[in-house]
Symmetry: C2
Subunit: 221 residues, 2 copies
């Protein structure tokens, strides 16, 4: 395996791009050095800029020594090959962490469409629909199952921070923005997410961005 000399993560707006946040959090927690390239979404030249980096025209994209790796989950797996502690070390916990990560990756369309991430926003209202209620209940079940099975002392879903937490961090942000009433486990987990230094640094950067996008209209989910 060639030693990696350069690592660039291409991301969208920190305020809006939940998939960028996922990959970025994992890279930040990995301790590996990386640069970031931010491409503001929904601008006139967005597609032109994306074409330079991304075969699927989506963010995030990781470029390691000129090799392009796309899709947040594939990027996370690539980073975890270099820093295995990003998955739980126990094989059963690791399989479950991959299950909940993949469930987030492919599902929860009601949450993703009806509650788009907007880190700067507070006190947003969202109309509760049956699909949204099912999604929220399932998320609360996942968080409770993980927390009850894996730890009482360490605060992340599987004890130490893992890729599963990166996948659910944007959901924590949404629950806070839209005032979703969870339960004690959810409250405490959301607090864990927001007390993470890397999450704090991402959020601060989101507050400094100037772009305003009507995410519900253009469907950045």
């Amino acid at each position: 395996m060639v030693e990696t000399e350069s690592r660039v993560l291409v991301i969208g707006n920190k305020n809006y791009s939940s998939w960028s946040l996922r990959a970025w959090l994992v890279l930040a927690h990995s301790g590996l050095p990386f640069e970031e390239v931010r491409i503001a979404l929904n601008e006139e030249d967005t597609d032109e800029k994306l074409e330079r980096y991304s075969p699927s025209l989506k963010v995030p994209v990781l470029i390691e020594n000129g090799i392009t790796i796309w899709e947040s989950l594939a990027i996370c797996e690539r980073i975890a090959e270099q820093v295995p502690s990003l998955w739980p070390s126990d094989p059963i916990a690791r399989a479950r962490a991959r299950s909940v990560a993949a469930e987030m990756h492919s599902g929860f369309s009601a949450i993703r469409n009806q509650m788009p991430m907007n880190i700067r926003a507070t006190n947003r209202n969202v109309e509760m629909t049956p699909d949204l209620e099912i999604d929220i209940r399932r998320i609360l079940d996942i968080w409770r199952d993980c927390r009850s099975n894996y730890t009482s002392v360490k605060p992340w879903l599987f004890g130490d921070f893992s890729i599963a937490d990166a996948m659910y961090a944007p959901v924590a942000a949404r629950f806070r923005t839209y005032g979703v009433r969870g339960n004690a486990t959810a409250e405490s987990y959301i607090a864990t997410v927001f007390s993470d230094p890397h999450m704090k640094s991402w959020s601060e950067a989101a507050f400094e961005e100037k772009e305003i996008i009507d995410v519900e209209e253009i469907g950045i989910v």
Copy 2:
């Protein structure tokens, strides 16, 4: 790591459940012993049966020694931990294989919704929409990129069969059912998929199933 003594894959109808096919193909190619439990979808007692096995109420689900692992991609990763050759051995090829597998896992909603898998069907028509055209073109690009980069002799996307192929096998089935005109690479890749002995055995079982589901209506994708 505990030696696995029992391995059960819970699947849906072989004719319709494309996600079940993906996990099943990987398990079949792994050479690991497993049993299968088939739950016919869209029946009166489907949910009741699913509740016994599946925390997300979806198929497929893998149960190893009583441990439940869900989501096709997480199931594939779990099997690949036991049979690493299910991913390409070269780290760059492996990262790309994970990128295209994850892209299938989370995307292509037009193909999944407008061209539901129906292995028994032939000569189906589908109205071409801009979204469907974009999806089809992207799939053809992925197949061409993989095939041109990784092999001229071995017929799968990354040379030998990998999890990426399992992710795209149901797309090959759909292209055949709906008569999608691809290119020489696509034609040859679809032929590779259908000449696989495990794919043949799954298809034969699909032809023996009696259930008829209006997949477009209920949205098994």
